[in-house]
């Protein structure tokens, strides 16, 4: 049990709670139930919770499956700072959001589920977990120009150091030399491709 990241489960639970809050809120508001004002609140709270919880945080170990299209929301959630990063804050926030919805039967289930999510986040915070955004690494563009290096300045066949000033003819005739560069080939060299 040592490697469990509670925040991941809390995240799923909170997302589900958000959806349940929205559904209960819609039922209460559309049906014009008594105290339907709590229903309208519940829709707003549910939408906020869903948007906050949609971007999945990065796992400590291993790769994390991103939710579809989460990178747009990640940018927004990142801006919120400690509200999103610190799980103690999230736990308190979710508990606070859940309480008003508890006064209406239609949204009561959402309250219970969000309260449970809040307690799992509290557990995650005790374990020192925090939310890190999943950011895609910028693609390394291969520098096409950089791989081309200057041709060697003193390619073989190289005359021995003493005779550097006078290149010997046998060595010059031996193999194909790289064209270009300061080397001047005494004999015409042809590249033979085998």
């Amino acid at each position: 049990m040592g490697q469990i990241e509670w925040a991941m489960w809390a995240n799923e639970q909170a997302l589900a709670s958000g959806l349940i809050l929205i559904t209960g809120g819609i039922v209460a508001t559309a049906g014009q139930f008594t105290k339907w004002g709590f229903g309208a609140y519940s829709i707003a709270a549910g939408v906020f919770v869903c948007l906050l919880e949609y971007p999945r945080g990065k796992r400590r170990k291993g790769s994390t499956m991103e939710r579809c299209g989460q990178k747009y929301l990640t940018r927004v959630v990142k801006v919120l700072g400690p509200l999103s990063k610190n799980y103690y804050v999230r736990a308190v926030l979710h508990l606070g959001l859940a309480v008003p919805a508890g006064f209406l039967l239609a949204t009561l289930l959402g309250t219970a589920c969000l309260a449970i999510a809040s307690s799992i986040y509290l557990l995650a915070a005790f374990h020192g977990e925090q939310w890190t955004p999943i950011e895609s690494k910028p693609k390394e563009r291969p520098q096409v120009g950089g791989t081309i290096k200057q041709p060697p300045s003193n390619p073989p066949p190289r005359p021995p150091a003493e005779a550097r000033k006078k290149p010997s003819e046998e060595e010059a005739a031996a193999s194909a030399a790289v064209s270009g560069g300061p080397q001047e080939n005494p004999v015409l060299v042809v590249d033979e491709v085998v």
């Binding site: 049990m1 040592g2 490697q3 469990i4 990241e5 509670w6 991941m8 489960w9 799923e12 639970q13 589900a16 709670s17 349940i20 559904t23 209960g24 039922v27 209460a28 049906g31 139930f33 008594t34 999945r56 796992r59 291993g62 499956m65 006064f103 209406l104 039967l105 239609a106 009561l108 289930l109 219970a112 589920c113 449970i116």
Partner: protein, 529 residues
């Protein structure tokens, strides 16, 4: 398209039957509550929401009954074994038990949502009728219990105009159990999401056990009789078709119509879930019994890349190729059972599994076996399970494709083919095998390369070099590895695996492979994992 039909017709038929039953039960219950005279007065207050709630309840009962069946793996093994005369395609359906379990779970979630929304409307309508002072039929019906001599003849569970729906919810058995079991359902679903299940299996496994709360709550959910219909007696003397419009005269002594009397619907959920509940209890008892049987560990081998091979034997254990077992190690965790494919052949006098360290449990297990000075941990085994891959032996030419971890059943199959070949088993029709092994890197499966190498060697000794043709495809290659390969092109053995066949990089081009094989042989059997 034709291939798809041949492969999936039975699944489609099965799912269509299940969906059809759901639709039938829903529509039947819906019509019965929407049309029956017994609920005439109930509908007067509640409208159609009554029928929606009852119809979804019927489907919930049906699906809650079904959901326990696919997870009774010993029962499924028993069915598989007794139905050996059944067609293979029928028995193969049993392998998709977990998929069906998930589908039924989704259906339960859908009907739970319908049921709850319908009952929210029901409670709201009851509350409004109770508070109404317009003298309508609905409000008269709601005040019934206060006037009748027998206290039980009420219709509206909200007994006073000041009572809120929240109060009724938490003071009635149906309300309290409903809230509890829905919370249990939500927790089970969120912890069973694929991401959580694959990354943090223990969270899923332990949380999922709150299904016990779900089933107990479901069983007692209806005993309060909160859904009320007119009694038989009352229907006889004051039928709603006759009496409903004269509701203002019910109080009069000389009226033909008396006040209607109501009774609660008896609980019916328990009737649905009792049988499968008992079956599941038997299943868990059986798993416990089998786990208590002694498992002797005959050999422990440590392979490179943190792979542990455990060779064991157990009295009465018999396996076939391609099957798997569940393993439990009480010293690590009492409740966790993890599945492993059997890598030994049935012809051997032991059974073996290869365990790779991928998570908490596997790492603890490998560490426990590495302790030199402490006694070996006790292992419990349940199984074997799974459909046997014995079809492979019926074909003269077999094409076997194993990808990644899917190569493990082929260890069993290849070894078994080897033994059958050696003993000149007449049941073995296989003359040529084409084995395709695709994986990212061979490190974790070095033990399998050794197996291939030894098979290759033995084939050579027997002079049957073309019996086993294998191709290894590494998909996780980079320029370094490719560079090494080109440099060592002329060597007889492959530098990565030491096998005679050279490793290929990237994925196989199946069109080419299949057409080459098809041209060489007329009839081929294919197995993939």
């Amino acid at each position: 398209m034709g291939n798809w039909v041949i492969n999936y017709w039975l699944s489609v038929l099965f799912l269509a039957t299940w969906l059809g039953l759901n639709v039938f039960l829903f529509v039947h219950a819906f019509l019965s509550y929407e049309k029956a005279d017994k609920y005439f007065y109930t509908r007067e207050i509640l409208g159609s929401a009554l029928a929606w709630a009852r119809a979804s309840a019927r489907c919930l009962n049906f699906n809650s009954m079904l959901i326990l069946l696919p997870v009774c793996r010993n029962l499924l093994s028993f069915l598989r074994g007794t139905c050996s005369f059944c067609r293979r395609s029928l028995r193969k359906q049993l392998d998709h038990n977990l998929t069906f379990h998930k589908l039924v779970a989704y259906m339960i979630c859908l009907h739970t949502a319908i049921h709850i929304i319908a009952h929210l409307f029901n409670f709201e309508h009851y509350s409004r009728s109770r508070q109404a002072t317009d003298g309508s039929l609905a409000s008269i019906l709601s005040t019934l219990s206060q006037q009748e001599k027998d206290e039980d003849s009420w219709l509206n569970p909200i007994q006073s105009p000041n009572m809120t729906v929240e109060h009724v919810t938490f003071t009635s058995i149906a309300g309290v159990t409903g809230v509890i079991i829905t919370i249990a359902l939500v927790l089970m679903v969120t912890s069973a999401m694929e991401f959580i299940r694959r990354s943090y299996f223990e969270v899923f496994w332990y949380t999922h056990h709150i299904f016990i709360i779900y089933f107990i709550g479901l069983g007692i959910h209806g005993i309060g009789g909160i859904v009320r219909g007119q009694t038989e007696e009352s229907l006889n003397d004051s039928h709603p078709h006759r009496c409903a419009e004269f509701f203002k005269q019910w109080d009069n002594h000389d009226s033909y119509c008396k006040h209607p009397r109501f009774e609660g619907l008896p609980a019916e959920s328990w009737k649905w879930i009792l049988a499968t509940g008992i079956l599941y209890i038997f299943e868990r008892i059986l798993r416990f019994y089998r786990s208590k049987q002694k498992v002797v560990i005959t050999k422990v081998v440590k392979h490179p890349s943190n792979v542990l091979e455990l060779q064991m034997s157990k009295r009465g254990f018999s396996m076939e190729v391609g099957q798997y077992i569940f393993v439990n190690c009480p010293s690590i965790s009492y409740l966790e059972w993890h599945p492993f494919t059997l890598t030994s052949a049935p012809e051997e006098d032991f059974f073996s599994i290869h365990i790779r360290a991928v998570g908490d449990w596997t790492e603890s297990l490998i560490r426990a076996f590495e302790q030199k000075h402490s006694p070996m941990p006790r292992i419990e085994v349940d199984g074997p399970f799974g459909t046997v891959s014995e079809d492979v032996f019926q074909y003269e030419v077999a094409v076997l494709v194993g990808a990644g971890i899917g190569v493990t059943p082929f260890a069993s199959i290849l070894k078994s083919i080897w033994y059958k070949f050696w003993h000149a088993d007449h049941n073995l029709k296989t003359q040529t095998i084409y084995f395709y092994w695709i994986c990212r890197e061979t490190g974790a499966f070095a033990w399998f390369s050794d197996l291939l190498a030894s098979l290759e060697h033995e084939m050579e000794e027997l002079g049957k070099v073309d019996f086993l043709n294998y191709h290894l495809f590494l998909t996780g290659w980079d320029t370094n590895i490719a560079g090494h390969a080109t440099l060592n092109f002329d060597k007889a053995t492959d530098i990565l695996t030491g096998l005679k066949q050279k490793t290929s990089f990237g994925r196989p081009m199946w069109d080419n492979e299949f057409s080459t094989i098809a041209n060489a042989h007329p009839k081929i059997g294919k197995a993939a994992c």
